[in-house]
């Protein structure tokens, strides 16, 4: 079979949707996990705070590739039959929640302590102090770094190719094996990642600028 440049491009663009789906899934699940982890990280109990901190340090201090391997080979040990897409999703979620928790903690702690005091003075339970008073204000400053993290997340999905998830890079490997045109294929692969990530980078930069002006 003969592969033209357009065949290569078409197949890579089709595969890119799995990169995007995985990124979105990782962001949604990692965001939920990150929010919970952030709440634990600023909890009153030192034991809870320390456990959350250890989780974050563990995931930020070890390679994502090894985390993916541990999920891929670890889930079968507890009796789960793991497909690559599941291991990829779980691995990215665990890692993204650590990063997002740390980013959002920074935003929450950037607010003046008086906000907590004021919320407490209103008689709100600590959970509602966070939910009704702190988070809405923190959200404003959290948007630019969160968009910036999305770029990192999209890039890290490329590692899931190694555990066999058929996203953009792995499709590139397959096409390379069929066409023997690695220069073209990996060049296009890189440009597709760039086309997804660069607009996000620009958006993050613009949001940051707008925030610093406000």
């Amino acid at each position: 079979m003969e592969f033209t440049f357009w065949d290569i491009l078409r197949n890579l663009l089709l595969a890119a949707r799995w990169t995007i789906v995985l990124s979105i899934a990782g962001f949604i699940c990692g965001g939920a996990g990150g929010l919970l982890l952030m709440a634990l990280r600023i909890a009153r109990s030192p034991a809870i705070r320390t456990s959350a901190r250890l989780y974050i340090e563990l995931f930020q201090g070890t390679p994502l590739l090894l985390q993916l391997f541990l999920v891929f080979f670890g889930l079968p040990l507890i009796g789960l039959n793991v497909r690559p897409w599941l291991a990829a999703g779980v691995g990215l979620t665990l890692s993204a929640s650590a990063y997002l928790a740390e980013i959002w903690r920074g935003c929450v702690e950037a607010l003046p302590a008086g906000q907590w005091d004021a919320a407490a003075a209103l008689g709100l339970h600590r959970r509602y102090q966070l939910q009704l008073v702190i988070l809405p204000q923190a959200l404003r400053i959290a948007v630019p770094p969160t968009v910036g993290f999305l770029v990192q997340l999209v890039k890290s999905t490329a590692l899931t190719s190694i555990i066999g998830f058929d996203e953009l890079l792995r499709t590139g490997n397959v096409i390379t094996n069929a066409t023997f045109a690695p220069f073209t294929v990996y060049g296009v692969v890189a440009l597709v990642y760039f086309a997804v990530c660069f607009p996000l980078t620009l958006l993050a930069r613009r949001l940051e600028l707008r925030l610093s002006r406000a």
């Binding site: 201090g61 090894l66 391997f69 890079l169 690695p182 220069f183 990642y193 980078t201």
Partner: protein, 222 residues
């Protein structure tokens, strides 16, 4: 075997694991040194008066920061031979890591140089010092003080990302772990051990970077 964890593989493969650790350390040390030079040159070019110089470095930085490291590695290792540039796995890994860290480093060093007051440069000139001396002895040390934490974090991130070079058969820590698990079928245990070694390496690396920065640029750094 019943109930007792089997660690005999550790005696057999401990040396292999250790040699993997040494390779990982080699990779990050060489990459850090090379990319520091690249970052300073890149930052200087990014601030130069020559427009095409600024644009070229800007393009390099954006291209690298907005694509995955593993795609860059594959492009260099599998793609460049089409242009006649054949690299062995280890030089290809070092080149990819250096280009990657250099792009982040360029932005970080540039921010640091921007933070140094212009008066420092002028004061150096008033003392009759030559521009390279002013840059190396006055401006750069002050910039380093401001950016050291960001630079150290990026170096640690690059060390962790270097696990990916095992895919092109560089015999680093991850490669050795792969090899051992394919022979012992104890994948989870071996990868867990390798993960913990990476964790220790990242803690250690941060300490060493802090120590050497204080020696190089004076107290108050790191």
């Amino acid at each position: 075997m019943a109930g007792r964890p089997d660690f005999t593989w550790l005696e057999v493969y401990g040396v292999a694991l250790l040699s993997g650790v040494v390779t990982t350390i080699e990779l990050i040390v060489v990459t850090t040194l090379l990319s520091f030079v690249l970052s300073v040159l890149g930052a200087a070019a990014r601030r130069s008066d020559v427009a095409w110089c600024r644009a070229a470095v800007g393009g390099y930085v954006e291209l690298i920061r907005n694509t995955p490291f593993i795609a860059q590695l594959f492009f260099i290792y599998f793609g460049l031979p089409s242009l006649g540039l054949h690299l062995n796995a280890m030089p290809a890994a070092i080149l990819a890591m250096t280009i990657n860290l250099g792009a982040y480093g360029t932005e970080i060093v540039r921010a640091g140089l921007d933070a140094v007051a212009p008066g420092q440069n002028e004061a150096g000139r008033a003392l009759g010092l030559r521009p390279p001396i002013i840059f190396l002895r006055i401006v750069l040390p002050q910039a380093m003080r401001a950016i050291f934490p960001a630079l150290a974090s990026q170096i640690v991130i690059t060390m962790l990302e270097s696990s990916v070079v095992s895919v092109i058969a560089v015999r680093d820590l991850t490669y050795q772990a792969d090899l051992i698990q394919s022979r012992t079928f104890q994948a989870f245990r071996i990868y867990l051990l390798a993960t913990l070694i990476y964790l220790a390496l990242s803690v250690l690396l941060r300490r060493i970077l802090g120590f050497s920065a204080r020696r190089l640029f004076g107290a108050g750094v790191g």
